[in-house]
């Protein structure tokens, strides 16, 4: 497969997954803000989505004030924010258009229809539809795309690189969502373990659709330690770090080439540390510090994937 094609497929899936996760993050922020009566604190909640998506800096370059309306617009609809849901939908469709010969027509039609609808979306229409319904719609389009992909495409390299993009992006996003509690301040120290704390943690769980799973696995009240264990170390939760990195490692072994051994090794190393890690050690190290280190390691892996499969500097030095 052409390197460019592989790269376009990988990013097509990453954009779809990113749109979905941004919708999840915003939905949680929106729900959390409804829990807070104090309007100052309400605005506080809206720092979290910016911190999670790493867009606080570009946002504050253009807005003096962090408030619900501004953040929602910036992350959902802003054509000038390259990682807005709007732009993810555009990019995914653009990539799909370029590799139309490689994907199935059903995959193309989902992304094309999503973009056509997204193009017509503005603030008025989003509010008219209802904020939560809008996020629901984004998630559903992503589910549909994934389902159509699994249900129609041949199990070839194209499928592998598309999946690789999904899991790389999802691992990144779950780690960021889990880190949200580091960024969200509680009203006061005495609130630790209190009602607000509880709702915030369960909102994290709901944002990755893992609330029911948590109940089934632990049959217990919601505690930070168990939530972190579920989303970091369990291998049966489809949005957990371990689950994602297991698939990343598997895929990299499948598509291996002469210069991708380092990528395979790095993915294996990350997966092994998740497979054999203990949650108490994670908390001893510091959850925020642990997640920061994880994001650094997946960034490095992303760069390695890029230079092994997509990068232009491939030379036929070792051509047989």
């Amino acid at each position: 497969m052409l390197s460019r094609t592989a790269s376009l497929l990988y990013w097509m899936s990453r954009y779809v997954e990113r749109a979905e996760n941004t919708a999840r993050i915003l939905d949680v922020a929106y729900r959390m803000s409804l829990l807070t009566k104090d309007s100052d604190l309400q605005d506080q909640e809206w720092f979290a989505p910016l911190n999670i998506t790493g867009t606080l800096f570009p946002f504050s370059g253009r807005h003096s004030l962090v408030c619900a309306k501004e953040v929602l617009h910036f992350l959902a609809l802003d054509a000038d924010n390259p990682s807005s849901i709007y732009n993810c939908a555009r990019q995914a469709r653009e990539n799909a258009r370029t590799v139309r010969g490689t994907i199935t027509s059903e995959m193309w039609e989902v992304l094309n229809a999503t973009w056509l609808e997204m193009q017509n979306m503005d603030e008025d229409r989003m509010y008219a539809k209802g904020i939560s319904s809008f996020f629901e719609w984004v998630k559903e389009r992503s589910h549909l795309f994934r389902g159509v992909t699994f249900g129609t495409i041949r199990r070839d390299e194209a499928f592998q690189f598309a999946r690789l993009g999904t899991y790389m992006e999802r691992a990144d996003n779950t780690a960021r969502i889990l880190d949200v509690k580091y960024h969200v301040l509680l009203p006061s120290v005495t609130d630790v373990g209190g009602a607000v704390d509880y709702y915030q943690w369960s909102a994290v769980l709901r944002s990755v659709s893992a609330f029911e799973s948590y109940r089934k696995v632990y049959r217990d009240t919601v505690t930070p330690l168990k939530i972190a264990e579920l989303l970091i170390l369990r291998d049966d939760i489809p949005r957990s770090l371990r689950f994602c990195m297991r698939d990343v490692a598997d895929i990299l072994r499948t598509v291996e080439n002469r210069i991708s051994l380092e990528a395979t090794r790095q993915a294996g190393e990350i997966h092994a540390s998740l497979q054999f890690g203990r949650i108490t050690d994670v908390f001893d190290y510091g959850l925020h510090e642990y997640l920061t280190r994880f994001l650094l390691s997946t960034d490095r892996l992303g760069a390695e994937i890029n230079s092994s499969f997509f990068a232009p500097q491939l030379k036929p030095a070792d051509e047989p």
């Binding site: 497969m1 052409l2 390197s3 460019r4 010969g101 080439n257 036929p316």
Partner: protein, 471 residues
């Protein structure tokens, strides 16, 4: 000059249906109008869904449009096509011989058949190709020859396209659409099939591989998805089962072309390129080209890769060379051309120039190096103002223009808002040259949808029809 009577493809002068249209005419008069209307709508919907669109230059970026499709086919009798195909074969063999000659011994120039400066001074003459041997001596592997029929029903060659002729995907899709909508028409008579074109093209490209390469890797090189013909590039690559690449996917090392793949660099032997010469290699041609592959020309000259079509074919399809093609055929084969040229005035000839300036309202004046119907004046439909402006342009640089009598162009019944009405058509057969010369029967029929219009280009409001060769 009295207006020439129109040649109608379906009816003869007395109004009787021509024999090769009988089966279609029979069907047309027995099929309810609602069914036809319904199917015409279905066709539009399907073309939209499949996304058979072309980008329009000059409109806001990303404008995608459908080429209007008309369901009344251009029907050609089998014997007529057989004669025609002999003429096309003769012409394309002569043009290939001409290209080989002008880049080698230049015998034709020594014999004085054409003026040296017309060839050597032509911007399409590529010095880089002098003395370069290409596999099989074939330059124009894929050619599109535009044919028109005058009032007498005789086919004429209007133009040769030997660079990167496009449109063949419409030919294939039109046929697919007709078979889907009106299968009964195809059981009522024998219509020669066309859908093996991609196989023939693949075979032609395989035959063009550098010497000693038995299992060549073939790619289609496209300028990218902003190009108006991108759909066709992707379509042909997919139909042939080869990679569709952009310039950045290829690189050259040690005079060998590689494509970047996820399994490492893979050698490329044949490039079916849909990029003009000028943009192929920034080291050899336009240095600002972002579309090409640095070093490609070096690998090509070294015989390590085949480009189809060859570099420098433009010198044989240039409008200033066109008037000499009958002489070119006579020179190499000692034969008379089987399909005549349209009479052409060359405006660097003072007698021709004087005549043309006197008769601008009757003639079509074209830029010798233009395409797409942009740089032309159609005399009979022009205003006095337009003629005055064109006169000035011609006088400024007469050598840049040619003129031809306005052909009446045959007309084919076509569905319009006011019902069936005759509209002017032309025909572009695609000619493949490998070990032998091959075609699929017929070609792409283009139709000028505006009443009285003679311009069939899709960028100027033209449509397309299926083309049937019937036995």
């Amino acid at each position: 000059m009295p207006p020439k009577s129109l040649y109608n493809e379906m009816y003869d002068a007395s109004g009787a249906v021509r024999p090769h249209y009988t089966a279609f005419h029979e069907w047309l008069s027995h099929t309810p109008a609602e069914k036809i209307a319904q199917n015409r709508q279905a066709a539009d919907l399907m073309f939209h869904r499949v996304g058979i669109t072309f980008a329009v230059y000059g409109e806001s970026s990303g404008t995608e449009r459908l080429i209007p499709f008309d369901i009344v086919p251009n029907v050609i009798a089998g014997q007529t096509w057989d004669l025609l195909s002999r003429g096309l074969s003769q012409r394309i063999r002569a043009l290939n011989a001409f290209l080989h000659d002008v880049y080698h011994g230049q015998e034709i120039l020594k014999a004085g058949v054409l003026p040296r400066e017309k060839v050597l001074g032509n911007s399409q003459f590529r010095r880089e190709m002098v003395g370069v041997d290409v596999p099989g001596g074939i330059y124009a592997h894929v050619a599109g020859i535009d044919l028109v029929k005058d009032a007498d029903g005789q086919y004429y060659v209007l133009e040769d396209n030997l660079r990167t002729p496009s449109g063949v995907s419409y030919l294939l899709e039109n046929r697919k659409m007709m078979m889907r909508l009106f299968p009964e028409l195809f059981s009522a008579q024998r219509i020669r099939p066309v859908d093996h074109y991609p196989d023939m093209l693949l075979e032609t490209l395989r035959n063009a591989a550098p010497f000693g390469v038995d299992h060549p890797t073939i790619v289609v090189l496209t300028p990218g998805h902003f190009n108006s013909a991108y759909f066709e590039h992707a379509f042909l690559a997919q139909q042939m089962g080869v990679e569709l690449v952009e310039g950045a996917d290829l690189f050259v090392q040690d005079e060998t072309v590689f494509m970047r793949t996820t399994q490492g660099p893979q050698r490329v032997d044949v490039v079916y390129r849909r990029i003009d010469d000028d943009f192929l290699d920034p080291l050899a041609f336009r240095t600002d080209s972002m579309l090409g592959v640095p070093g490609l020309m070096g690998a090509y000259r070294a015989g390590r890769v085949t480009l189809a079509n060859a570099v420098g074919t433009g010198v044989a399809d240039d409008k200033s060379i066109y008037p000499f093609v009958p002489d070119i055929i006579r020179f190499y084969f000692n034969e008379e051309p089987l399909i005549p040229n349209v009479h052409t005035y060359m405006l660097d000839n003072p007698d021709d120039l004087a005549y043309v300036l006197e008769h601008m309202h009757e003639l079509v004046i074209k830029e010798a190096q233009g395409s797409g119907g942009y740089g032309m004046l159609v005399g009979p439909t022009s205003t006095k103002d337009e003629r005055e402006r064109f006169r000035q342009r011609v006088l400024d640089a007469p050598e840049r223009y040619i003129a031809q009598p306005t052909l009446s162009l045959s007309a084919c019944p076509t569905f319009t808002t006011g019902g069936l009405a005759p509209r002017h058509i032309d025909l572009r057969p695609y000619v493949l040259t490998g070990k032998s010369v091959n075609f699929v029967p017929g070609g792409l029929t283009r139709v000028a949808l505006r009443e009285g219009s003679l311009v069939v280009n899709s960028s100027q409001g033209g449509g397309v029809k299926d083309t049937w060769v019937v036995d």
